[in-house]
């Protein structure tokens, strides 16, 4: 009686459980063969969530300003500074991650930086260093690395990251974007 169709409602599932579906968005469909993607929001478009399905493998750099759920594999770098990144239970990430908030239910090897919060849920796994003002780790989650919760540490890290980006402007190949810590968990531990 009170229900009616909302024309602007996104059709893509946003939740972590949505990842079991194959990739249906243009981003996910094109993801596999590309090494770098920039996802600009269209004018007037609502804030939507994008889903990378579990059969999708991305090697390279992911930039964007929409919320993203990863159920597939990503190697390289993920940068969603204004958005929420969800690593679904099937997600396997070997990358440096920068986002507003990161929710981890799958596996991440590499450093994670969030300006708001990092949330490692039950069965989620992180091998790498976390930088965020708020960190939540559930019982049953795996974590190996350091946690930097200093106020302002995210900003300073962002600055240094930008400087590094300038000096290596064209480094978007898989080999160059893969973080040192992501190459092997043992190295991640040894670097600490």
């Amino acid at each position: 009686m009170w229900k009616r169709d909302e024309p602007g409602k996104p059709s893509t599932p946003a939740g972590p459980g949505a990842g079991s579906q194959p990739a249906s968005t243009p981003l996910a469909a094109e993801a596999a063969p590309t090494s770098k993607m920039v996802n600009e929001p269209q004018r007037g478009q609502e804030r939507t969530a994008v889903n990378i399905g579990k059969s999708v493998v991305i090697k390279g750099e992911l930039n964007g300003s929409e919320d993203l759920t990863v159920e597939g594999q990503v190697e390289g770098k993920i940068e969603l500074r204004q958005s929420v990144l969800t690593i679904g239970p099937n997600g396997r990430i070997k990358a440096q991650v920068f986002a507003k908030s990161v929710i981890i239910l799958g596996e991440v090897t590499g450093n994670v930086t969030a300006s708001e919060k990092v949330d490692i849920r039950d069965n989620g796994s992180v091998d790498g260093d976390i930088t965020s003002p708020r960190v939540a780790i559930a019982e049953g989650a795996h974590f190996r690395g350091s946690i930097d919760m200093q106020k302002g540490s995210v900003k300073s890290e962002t600055k240094s990251e930008k400087t590094t980006d300038k000096s290596a402007a064209s480094s978007t190949t898989t080999a160059s974007t893969a973080p040192a810590a992501a190459s092997s968990p043992a190295t991640a531990g040894a670097n600490r």
């Binding site: 939540a136 780790i137 989650a141 795996h142 974590f143 190996r144 946690i147 930097d148 919760m149 106020k151």
Partner: protein, 220 residues
Amino acid sequence: MLSDLLRWGGKRPGQPDAPGPGEAAAPRGGEPVVPSKAFPKFLAAIATQPAPPLLLDFGPVIGPNVSFFGEQLGCKLFIEDLFADYDRHARGGTLEALPATIASRFRHAEASVDGVLCWDFFDFLQKPAAQALAKEIVRMVRPGGAVMGFFCTSSVPSAPFTKYEIVDDKSLRHRPHAGIGGARQALQNRDIIKMFDGLVVSDSFLLKNNTREILLKRRS
């Protein structure tokens, strides 16, 4: 319906009581909450450090502990989980290699660490491993930094590991750890003082459960 609710005092039969403010410190399923004398002093020592502190935690990762240190100290926390290292060596039958592992494990610079939470890890170490770890701690702790350790008073041939969950700044919840555990060695006070040559014992408490809580500091 409303009259029923009023008769029950707004609570249905079988419905648990709402947690009160002090209830967080209550035992949970056989996991005792034990007051700690050294922990508040450890926190106080860390809080006096001028820069945001850098802490090493030798225990496994525990969500509430991470949240606690983030909220209370806004620090940089390194989860070292030496219990996992011990476990790996014990299961592989290579415990004699543990001192070498410890000696080469830490990459922190000299005098760069503000606080070390050893928990009761030293109890499970043989003398060479304990000395190697103490040497590394002394190297890493900066002036004014603090080290907190729990030491048993009598040796036990086999004991499980314990996870220490911070309930508040004065009490810890003792929780079972899934690790293999091992023999606990009771270190004499003089052995502890000798091992941590370069640090001074700032506070020592004997708890009712016969645990010695010892706080060591490096003089500023």
